[in-house]
């Protein structure tokens, strides 16, 4: 729980996420019925690498909160699509760009990148410029190749 620069932020664990989210949504005086955004931040240095961030808003009380859950690489986070259908595509995008799996998500597949794309571009360790003209099948092989050369 922290308050900074005008926003409330709650940090919870993966297990209690669904239960806390349900209470936030259904409780009368919080009533966060509008899930405006689901995104993730890749803190490469940390062990639990990804911060999955849920920005919630209440249309009745007109206040906002940000819910954060920490997840390591390869660990899956429970999906909140059941509570807010809005999160469906947003979670698909986080999976597509970060690789964070959401179990319980109705249709978890890539949304922006082509389906057969390897790697997750938004990660910090993903190269900014690709191999350019010699387009390798998998950008990650190209990355290994480049590291070996240096």
């Amino acid at each position: 729980m922290s308050f900074w620069v005008g926003d409330w932020t709650l940090i919870t664990s993966r297990e209690r996420l669904i239960e806390l989210a349900r209470r936030l949504r259904d409780d009368r005086d919080t009533a966060f019925d509008f899930c405006s955004d689901v995104t993730a931040v890749d803190w490469l240095a940390r062990a639990e690498r990804f911060d999955v961030v849920y920005c919630l808003y209440s249309t009745r009380h007109r206040h906002r909160v940000r819910l954060k859950v920490r997840a390591a690489d390869g660990v899956s986070v429970p999906s909140v699509t059941a509570l807010w259908p809005a999160a469906n595509w947003l979670e698909r995008e986080v999976f597509d760009l970060f690789g964070v799996r959401f179990d319980g998500h109705p249709d978890l597949r890539r949304i922006l990148m082509p389906d057969e794309w390897q790697g997750h571009p938004q990660r910090k360790d993903y190269p900014l410029e690709g191999p350019g003209e010699l387009l390798m099948e998998n950008p990650l092989d190209w990355l290994k190749l480049r590291n070996e050369i240096e």
Binding site: W4, V5, G6, D7, D33, F34, C35, S36, D37, T39, V41, D42, V53, C55, T59, R62, R64, R66, W84, P85, A86, A87, N88, W89, L90, E93, L97, R110, I111, L112, M113, P114, P121, Q122, Y126, L128
Partner: protein
């Protein structure tokens, strides 16, 4: 009677289709003319803006925010700059806030103009398209006088505005408002009470208030279903707190209500612009901003009301580097588009065209 079971026809309203407002592909499963199911395929215009911004410093990013929703660039600029100001607790002088509000509202009119033109053209009314673009030209001229660009303005800086309004610009804006006020009835005369227009839009793509909120819709789409949610009223930013304007609300949540909401927003924007012009305070146009922008460690999310809906910016900075650690945009078109499969289920192919227009998406913003 299974004798005549027509197998489902899969129709690809492909990336190149005159009425998908950009490279959007909708895979329709049809039973005869009726849409049984659909799947929206996006990503054709994905340029990885969020990844790019992580390697740009805070001033260069203003340019990139233009390119997302290229139809309402000023609003994205404003949203981004306000988020950074919130992160660094910078105070923006009142004159800058007023001018910013005028720019945002002019941008809203231009975006709605483009929407109404293409939406009417999809349903067959060609003349409305040309009337709208004639008015949109006037707004683009105003922007050209102010910041030299017609589409991607780059007209807002962190902490205020790069340049003050040229002499006589406010008279031009006032003249434009009076002229445009007389043009709106021209659109309504052609469409609002037109029986064919009503028949093509009423009770098409109905979405209830609860579903709209649950699906995360925002902007005219949400207000069309009767939810009085407008970021300008709920979380007033720039100078909206000083102006009184009302938020148009629909009742049924069908395409016709969304049309009425947006046309009414034309008038409300004019009201705001007039009040802003009249009450334009004197004073500096740029707050005290450190030469090198390096926000403290931490993250924030700030949303403003773009013509398409609530556009939100989430910026996380690690306090050390001059580039944001994580830059995230909550695009209204992306979330509104999510409702498309639910809206078009059970309608005819011709309605799909009207509905895509009614959601008012810009694919640049959907794919980022």
């Amino acid at each position: 009677m299974a004798l005549f079971d027509t197998d489902e026809l899969v129709l690809n309203m492909g990336p190149q289709h005159p009425s998908t407002h950009g490279v959007l592909r909708v895979v329709l499963r049809l039973d005869g003319e009726r849409v049984v199911g659909s799947d929206v395929v996006i990503g054709y215009l994905h340029r990885g803006i969020e990844k790019l911004c992580e390697h740009r410093d805070y001033l260069q990013i203003v340019l990139l925010t233009d390119r997302m929703d290229y139809v309402s660039a000023a609003t994205s600029n404003l949203g981004y700059c306000e988020t950074v100001e919130k992160l660094m607790q910078i105070e923006v002088p009142p004159r800058a806030r007023y001018i910013r509000t005028i720019l945002a509202e002019l941008q809203r009119i231009a975006s709605h103009n483009l929407w109404l033109g293409t939406h009417a053209m999809d349903i067959g009314a060609m003349t409305v398209f040309l009337y709208n673009f004639r008015e949109r030209e006037l707004v683009l001229d105003l922007f050209e006088d102010y910041c030299g660009a017609r589409l991607t303005y780059n007209a807002v800086r962190i902490g205020g505005l790069p340049l003050d309004i040229p002499a006589g610009w406010d008279q031009k804006v006032r003249a434009y408002c009076d002229l445009f006020e007389s043009k709106i009835p021209e659109y309504e005369e052609l469409l609002t009470h037109n029986r064919i227009w009503k028949e093509r839009t009423q009770k098409i793509g109905v979405i209830s208030a609860e579903d709209a909120i649950a699906l995360g819709l925002s902007g005219p789409l949400l207000r069309g279903s009767g939810v009085p949610r407008d970021v300008r009223k709920d979380e007033p930013y720039a100078a909206y707190a000083d102006f009184d304007f009302d938020v148009p609300i629909g009742t049924l949540g069908d395409t016709y209500d969304r049309y009425l909401v947006r046309v009414e927003e034309f008038r409300q924007s004019l009201r705001i612009i007039r009040q802003a012009i009249d009450g334009l305070p004197e004073g500096p146009i740029l707050g005290k901003v450190p030469r090198l922008i390096k926000p403290p460690a931490g993250e924030t999310y700030h949303a403003i009301e773009s013509p398409k809906g609530e556009i939100g910016f989430f910026i996380a900075s690690d306090g050390k580097s001059i580039t944001p650690y994580r830059f995230r945009v909550r695009p209204p078109s992306f979330c509104n588009l999510q409702a498309l499969p639910r809206l078009i289920k059970g309608h005819l192919v011709a309605d799909v065209v009207a509905l895509i227009g009614s959601i008012d998406i810009v694919v640049g913003e959907v794919d980022r």
